[in-house]
């Protein structure tokens, strides 16, 4: 597991999501990357059931259960600012049994699907983020295999990102700042995806709020 950076690519002016994805993949292929199959990352939201909150009236916490096709035998469960649990796929079945404590938020499933590209030691995944039937955004994930310490190779990753994202290059992910000299793990990637999905959900809510006013 190498250091990974997940970011969002804004949709190009005057184009839709699909065309922007195509632009990106064409740039990658010109750089010399090879296509290597597809990938999928999905996320479901659960919130703690009202019955377990007790009389304190504390707000229910949101829990995200995610899967990543890069680790097909694993299931990730994480709280927003809390720990990330890495379990095997039987965890989904467990969630069904825990219906009394965790209830699935309606229409909460969000996922990103797309193609994987390999360029030298970089693994690039460009995916379309969809909520339900409609595409909401573009996710770009770049993994640099050889390095396992995040703070070491950020400059290297940045240079690579600039070469094909141009001006849309993101800043350093927050997970890089938290862990100096600690070995990077897949859980950090899932935290980045969770933040990305939340951002896209918020953008969607803002758009929907604007609509009745127009």
């Amino acid at each position: 597991m190498g250091v990974t950076c997940v970011s969002q690519m804004p949709v190009a002016e005057g184009k839709n999501v699909q065309q922007t994805v195509e632009l990106l993949t064409r740039k990658l292929e010109m750089l010399g990357a090879e296509k290597q199959g597809t990938f999928c990352v999905d996320c479901e939201t659960y919130h703690t059931a009202a019955s377990t909150l007790g009389s304190q009236g504390q707000a229910g916490k949101l829990m995200y259960v995610m899967h990543n096709s890069e680790y097909p035998l694993s299931c990730f469960a994480l709280f927003e600012n809390g720990p990330c649990l890495v379990a095997d796929t039987n965890f989904d079945v467990l969630m069904v049994k825990l219906k009394g404590f965790f209830q699935s938020a309606k229409a909460s499933k969000i996922e990103t699907r797309g193609t994987r590209y390999q360029y030298c030691d970089f693994l690039v995944k460009v995916g379309t983020v969809t909520m339900g039937p409609s595409a909401r955004g573009i996710s770009v994930e770049v993994e640099y295999g050889p390095c396992v310490v995040a703070s070491d190779c950020w400059s290297l990753l940045l240079e690579f990102l600039q070469s094909f994202l141009g001006s849309h290059t993101p800043g350093a992910p927050t997970v890089f700042g938290n862990r100096h000299d600690a070995v990077y793990s897949p859980a950090d990637t899932m935290v980045q995806y969770m933040e990305l999905f939340n951002k896209i959900r918020k953008q969607q809510q803002v758009i929907e709020k604007r609509k009745p006013n127009q």
Binding site: M1, G2, G32, Y119, C120, D121, F122, G145, P146, C147, V148, V149, D152, C153, S155, L156, E159, F160, S163, D181, V183
Partner: protein, 311 residues
């Protein structure tokens, strides 16, 4: 090939032992013959039984005698000398088909040739060092006293000395840890871990570095049965490139008379890879060239360059 094996073997006792084996074989076959023949025809049943038992006992006694004789002789014969220079490959001499596969004689010739070459090269380097082109008076000029060495001793160093040198170098650099093991005979295999950047497997021959393989920090360096994997390459192009550079380095740092200096210089050069992913190229200023970071480290200045940017 008996001349090579005769260092510790008593040939007399050897010949006697062979005839003792033959005697033992014949007495054992006599025992079985006696059993096969069964009882001889005599007047009474008791007489027959007694005669059979007496005959059987005689045969068993003779077997016992011959066995003891053989054991005594085998202790006298002695073992072929343990510090045989070819060790296990000396067993190749037992191959009976000498004309088609003259492996053993060729092996002996190759070893003698390489030892002679080492010796002559040592003499030549001593002579050449005396005629130094440098202006400063080097202490190598005083090597006239040390020069007449009978054998190239640096090839046959005691393992304890090698261990000491390696552990001293291990303590020199805090971010580099060296683990020494000897899974295949006397040649040492080092597993060098450099921070959280990379792992290097170094195969040595006494105190000379033979081969290196560089792998990533998260890659597996052991085979399925737990032994050090010294053959498989890294999965990442970066480390395959660094392996090539490391091989160039071990060919570059050569000093036959002082191999511990060589190992120290090699480790110093290797340590410069601590900042493999953080240092930009000194020539073009960028981090990536064809997807690779600056993998070349100059042998004198230890500066980082891309493979295509180096002078």
């Amino acid at each position: 090939m008996a001349d090579v094996l005769s260092v510790g073997v008593n040939l007399e006792a050897f010949a006697q032992a062979i005839s003792a084996i033959q005697a033992l074989r014949s007495s054992v076959s006599r025992v079985f013959d006696c059993l096969k023949d069964g009882m001889r025809n005599k007047e009474t049943l008791e007489g027959r039984e007694k005669a059979f038992i007496a005959h059987f006992q005689d045969n068993l006694h003779s077997v016992n005698r011959d066995l003891n004789e053989l054991e005594r002789l085998s202790n006298l014969v002695g073992k072929p000398s343990e510090n045989h220079p070819l060790h296990n490959s000396g067993l190749l001499s037992l191959d009976p088909v000498q004309d088609k596969t003259p492996l053993y004689s060729q092996l002996l010739q190759a070893y003698k040739w390489s030892n002679k070459l080492q010796y002559h090269a040592g003499l030549a380097s001593g002579l050449l060092n005396q005629q130094s082109l440098k202006r400063s008076a080097n202490q190598m000029g005083v090597s006239a006293k040390r020069r007449p060495k009978a054998q190239p001793t640096t090839l046959v160093l005691p393992p304890q000395y090698v261990d000491d040198v390696i552990s001293r170098i291990d303590r020199m650099f805090p971010e580099m840890s060296i683990h020494l093991s000897r899974p295949n005979g006397t040649s040492a295999m080092l597993l060098v871990t450099l921070g959280k950047v990379l792992k290097v497997i170094v195969v040595m021959r006494s105190l000379f570095i033979d081969r290196t393989i560089v792998k990533g920090y998260n890659e597996n360096v052991h085979t399925e049965d737990g032994k050090l994997d010294i053959w498989s390459k890294s999965n990442y192009q970066v480390f395959q490139k660094v392996t090539d550079h490391a091989t160039t380095a071990l060919l570059h740092y050569q000093l036959p008379q002082m191999p511990d200096v060589v190992v120290r210089s090699f480790m110093t050069w290797l340590r410069s890879y601590m900042k493999l992913f953080q240092a930009p190229c000194q020539r073009c200023g960028k981090f990536l060239q064809d997807g690779l970071p600056p993998t070349w480290r100059d042998f004198r200045t230890l500066e980082a360059f891309h493979d295509t940017c180096r002078q």
